[in-house]
């Protein structure tokens, strides 16, 4: 157990070291660097949630969240390989269709991914890769007695794709992007059809973990964004659509979120090239 912990810490430290450095290299007399593009966003929108463990009714209401995304080109092959961390937390306050019962939704996500990219002509870039992600959350239906909570937890491997294009609106550089993430193989938690959390608390952990694929645990996340690069900083405006669903043990769960995303990119995107001295070239992951 101690060895496993040491190994995990070593891997984590190596990942952070690789990610956190600005990764400078040299090509002849010029210097090359791979800056981290950090995006911090707040999100607001609407969530609809169905969990037949709690109720046959679909609840709906506002959702608010915060997200962070960090990406950089890998030093090993910066023209082709990129790495990213993404994290998101949100809370939803929902009512049933009649409006007399409240459900609270909580969700936290974290993903670490690697992508191969193709830098195409006319400012187009295509990225395809995968990530491993953790998703944990709960739906809390306040009016229920012995079944007030439906907990959600999963670890998933997800292919992800991103297409982006740089363009100018007047003199303002803009990065348009659409990013899709599709968790495909997962291990996820679900109690059995009528199993109480009391029984789980007593120690009956049988049958709580399920192998997931698109057929029983379909999730997809799509982020359409426009990043406006002002130079020293950049701003993101975007729309995120997210579906998290599962069907297991005759229990149907379906959470659909539509959010407006407003973010800030503190160091800017680097589309205004004049910010760097001529002998330094920066290779960004996002374009």
């Amino acid at each position: 157990m101690r060895n496993r912990l040491k190994t995990a810490l070593a891997v984590g430290a190596a990942m952070l070291t690789a990610f956190g450095s600005r990764g400078a290299g040299s090509e002849g007399d010029s210097l090359r660097c791979q800056p981290v593009t950090s995006v911090y966003s707040v999100e607001a929108g609407h969530q609809s949630s169905l969990s037949t463990y709690l109720s046959p009714l679909t609840y709906g209401g506002p959702v608010f969240g915060a997200s962070g995304s960090w990406s950089k080109a890998l030093a090993r092959d910066p023209q082709r390989l990129t790495m990213s961390f993404d994290t998101k937390a949100d809370v939803a306050d929902m009512l049933n269709p009649y409006g007399n019962a409240r459900m609270i939704g909580l969700d936290f996500q974290f993903q670490w991914g690697l992508s191969r990219r193709w830098r195409l002509a006319d400012g187009w870039q295509l990225q395809a890769g995968g990530d491993i992600g953790i998703d944990a959350g709960a739906l809390y239906l306040i009016r229920n007695g012995n079944n007030p909570v439906a907990a959600q937890a999963s670890v998933a491997i997800a292919p992800r794709g991103r297409v982006s294009k740089t363009l100018h609106i007047g003199r303002l550089p803009v990065l348009l992007a659409d990013e899709v993430r599709l968790p495909s193989l997962s291990v996820f938690f679900s109690p059995e059809f009528g199993e109480t959390y009391y029984e789980i608390y007593l120690g009956n952990h049988k049958g709580l973990a399920h192998c997931g694929w698109w057929g029983n645990n379909f999730c997809i996340s799509n982020l359409l964004s426009a990043d406006l690069d002002f130079g020293r900083t950049a701003m993101r405006i975007g729309y995120r659509m997210e579906v998290r669903s599962s069907y297991v043990c005759s229990l149907n769960t379906r959470i659909i979120t539509h959010s407006l995303v407003i973010g800030v990119i503190p160091q800017g995107l680097g589309l205004k090239k004049h910010r760097l001295p001529a002998h330094i070239s920066a290779i960004y992951a996002v374009y």
Binding site: L57, D122, V180, E192, G194, Y198, G203, G215, F218
Partner: protein, 376 residues
């Protein structure tokens, strides 16, 4: 360049996958109409209620009957009339754990206790046995009665009982030569409180019962029984391992019923009074499109022998005693009197011929009591 041409196609493919797979498993779609709500109610119970086999109820026929009642609902019928039809359908289950909850009424099947004698009057106990002079914490009233007989009354498992509260109670009562725990009229509450109590009365790990759950919508889809285990309390807590008599009546329900099942299985405990009211299914909640909530038994609780507790727990053989209302009004609680008599006999037997087993003693004294009353 070739890839660039395929970008729209790739995006369309993702969208198509999303649209297809999210529709794979249809979500329930009940309409907020008279029939839509009745259908939702019928479906919820049909899929999740756990005692159809024990009730011998043809739920399809029940649904048909109540849909016909809806057909004949007059045009000037009120929402209360509609509520009565829906709650009438639930009453067919004859289950005290089943409720339909609206903003103007909560339906409740009461016959599980109204058709039986009450066998208890709190005022009688407080006035004639406790002299209105007792300690109280966590909802528990307790006192050392004459002849070193400890007494505690716990009216509801909804009162949270802290370990420290129980330490204080047992610190007062630990020298008792016998302990009477009165849970008459206890309608249930939190199952976790059972553990707090039981662990004070055992000296080794026990299986106090089993819990099951439904594994699917079919009426017979159940999991294997999972044991509910109890361990003795830690050394720094105050236990009570002397003889105990648990007093019950028909109004002991749900968690009180489960508590009785566990206690009855302990060697140092006898149950005296009347059969409990049952409620051997942990209830779940759900709701209808019109905002009404519904509660129903969902997870069967079994006794330590693996038998259902839905129909109630009988007293220890010989321990069935009733307390007629007229006697209670006159200040005599026959159930409590019998328990005190057993405890006094235990004290006599302990001094004469060693410790007597309480279950045997209740059996013997119960038999004597029956023969005396039959002679009268």
């Amino acid at each position: 360049m070739t890839l660039k041409r395929h970008i729209p196609t790739l995006l369309a493919a993702f969208a198509a996958i999303a649209a297809t797979l999210t529709g794979c498993h249809e979500a329930p779609d009940y309409k907020n109409t008279l029939y839509g709500n009745l259908d939702a109610l019928w479906d919820i119970v049909d899929q999740r209620y756990c005692f159809f086999d024990r009730k011998g109820l043809d739920w399809d026929s029940v649904g048909a009957v109540y849909r016909r009642k809806l057909d004949s609902l007059p045009e000037n019928a009120t929402i209360v009339d509609y509520f009565d039809i829906c709650s009438g359908m639930l009453d067919e289950l004859k289950d005290g754990h089943v409720n339909l909850i609206s903003s103007f009424n909560t339906s409740y099947y009461r016959k599980w206790w109204t058709d039986y004698p009450q066998d208890f009057d709190l005022r009688t106990v407080q006035q004639y046995y406790l002299d209105f002079d007792y300690l109280s914490t966590s909802g528990i009233s307790y006192k050392m009665l004459p002849d070193s007989i400890g007494y505690m009354y716990y009216p509801s498992f909804s009162y949270p009982v802290g370990e420290l509260n129980l330490d204080y109670i047992l610190a007062v009562l630990h020298k008792a030569k016998g302990l009477i725990i009165d849970i008459r009229d206890n309608g249930g509450g939190e199952l976790t409180n059972i553990k707090t109590f039981v662990e004070r009365f055992i000296d080794r790990k026990i299986t106090g019962g089993y819990i099951m759950h439904k594994t699917g919508p079919a009426h017979d889809a159940f999991s294997e029984p999972y044991p509910i285990e109890y361990k003795p309390c830690p050394d720094y807590r105050i236990p009570y391992r002397g003889p105990i008599i648990l007093l019950t009546n028909r109004s002991c329900f749900s968690a009180a019923n489960a508590f009785t099942a566990v206690m009855k299985s302990l060697p140092n405990v006898a149950v005296v009074g009347a059969r409990t009211g049952g409620g051997g299914g942990l209830p779940f909640s759900s709701e209808l499109p019109n905002g009404w909530a519904v509660r129903f038994s969902a997870c069967p609780l079994l006794d330590p022998e693996g038998k259902s507790t839905e129909e109630g727990i009988d007293p220890t053989p010989g321990g069935e005693v009733h307390a007629p209302a007229e006697e209670l009004a006159a200040g005599n609680d026959a159930i409590l009197d019998f328990a005190i008599a057993v405890m006094l006999r235990i004290q006599q037997d302990s001094t004469r011929a060693g410790s007597a087993k309480i279950k045997d003693l209740v059996g013997a004294m119960g038999a004597d009591r029956v023969s005396i009353s039959s002679k009268h």
